[in-house]
Amino acid sequence: MMKINPVLQKEMKIRMRGWRSAGMIGIYLVFMALTASFIMIMSRESYYRVTFDPELALGSYTGLAIMQFVLISFISPALTTGAISGEREKQTLDLLLCTRMTPLSIVTGKLFASISQIILLIIASLPIFSIVFLFGGISIKELLELFGFFIIIAITYGSIGIFYSSYFKRTTAANVLAYGTIAFLCFGTIFLTIFYIGIVYNYDYRGFFPLLYINPIIGFSFMLWEQFSGGSINLFPGLFMGTGISTYNISPWIVNLVFNIVLSILLIFLSANKINPLRIRRRTLFSSSKKSLNNIQYKKTKR
């Protein structure tokens, strides 16, 4: 029989209690509703048109998808940066570690609690999202792709949060580093690409620069771009966007998803290893010099 992870169960209980979770859903829906009404206002003139308007369909779908992407990017790391460091600050981590739970199940329990919260947000926003069907042109497959992408992104950002949470004592430090890392993935990679191409190729670079595969924003854009088969453009040197072009065999957004999954798994294992009190510590190169230090100390402490 499959047993629900006890940490996941308890986390859900705690998180759903009180106003914080309800407040978060509320604010989330306000942002989504604002985006939707903005799209509605923009489309008022064409509202009574009976014919299918591809531009509007694209506009409402991408508008809501981008809003959701931004919201999830902000929320999901915040849900996990306190996962381990918070337990440490509250002095409850040892109480968990002295039970039969493995460090890995503690970490995954925490992570999936926050993923569940993100899924809850996505589900709560479905009624608003359904306005895209008003304009037609969106299939269920595309919606599933989109939500799948969101969930993977939530897992990735959540794992980044957990990783820093287990490596740093303070939740504040974990927060700063998690958002810093995400900012690097999203923007740093673009600057590096342009910088590198500027120096090495003197901005004369056609095609897709490999570093951008790890950029979630570009992965996300590619997915939307392909869903609407929007032709091809060269946005900036190194970022050639196009469909069915031979510069890449697999769509960059698929590569990005795979990268995200691999990164998440790696970070989850690293976090579990970090909180494992009996983890195998690598014997460092300094072990010999440590020994001689030991002797010196011995002389000093001998009273």
Partner: protein, 308 residues
Amino acid sequence: MLKINGLTKSYGIFTAVDGLDLNVPKGEIYGFVGPNGAGKTTTMKIICGLLPADKGQVSVAGIDVIKDVRKAKELIGYMPDFFGVYDNLKVTEYLDFYASIYNLNPRDRKRICDDLLELVDLQDKRDAYVDSLSRGMKQRLCLARSLVHNPELLVLDEPASGMDPRARVEMKEILRTLKDLGKTIMISSHILPELAELCTSIGIIDRGKIVISGTVDEIMQQVYSKRFIKVRIRGNMEEAVKVMKESPLITNINKGDNFIEAGFEGNEEEMAMLLKELVTRDIPVISFGQMDGNLEDVFMKVTKGDEA
């Protein structure tokens, strides 16, 4: 039940536990006493699989803690010296959470939680949020938590710190009940007298080493294999000290205002001879007797402070 052999643990260049040996048979309440920084918490954490050992063996009910931590953890209930509770959880939910970690069905869990709340006398707080409990209550709750999986060995790190005298008495009652249920208990403290009446045996640890261990009586005997005598006199102090120093049986004389304390390595007959000598030399003796050592003295004698 609990066997430790040559346990060593260093933090960097500092050795916190240094070749420690101890053995706690099943059903004992073992008092683990030592001054601050002696290595009690470190030892206990290693037993519970919360710290890696550098060297040595630890086994609980025949299971090697270092090799087979997960199995050992099922046999050990641990209560740390400092711990916190989750906010937003009620007392029953708190216990149920820890119980849910072990493969128990919800009905058994509920029964166990009820029993444990009764044991630690927190039934009327069952629906209170855990962070609203007083410190003493939290400690009792934490003790209940360490019992959810019915462990064989309880490792309690200063469970009574911060408790009022009444709560301490109650805690001792709970521990006696647990002993009657067949549990083996290891309990740490700074204060030897506090543990003396509760524990069946005691080990005193100092700077990572067990300096003395055994039952309370055995320890008293070992420490006081040498007698201590106290002589109260009226005046003529100098002469009295001189007389006593002449006796080869007297060691380390300690002079007070109107009394002299000294170690005495002789039998009762020789003690009588010493008294006779004092009296014949015209020392105005008021009283002459053997001192009873108390546990506080034992502790101070066998452990050395930092400045020792």
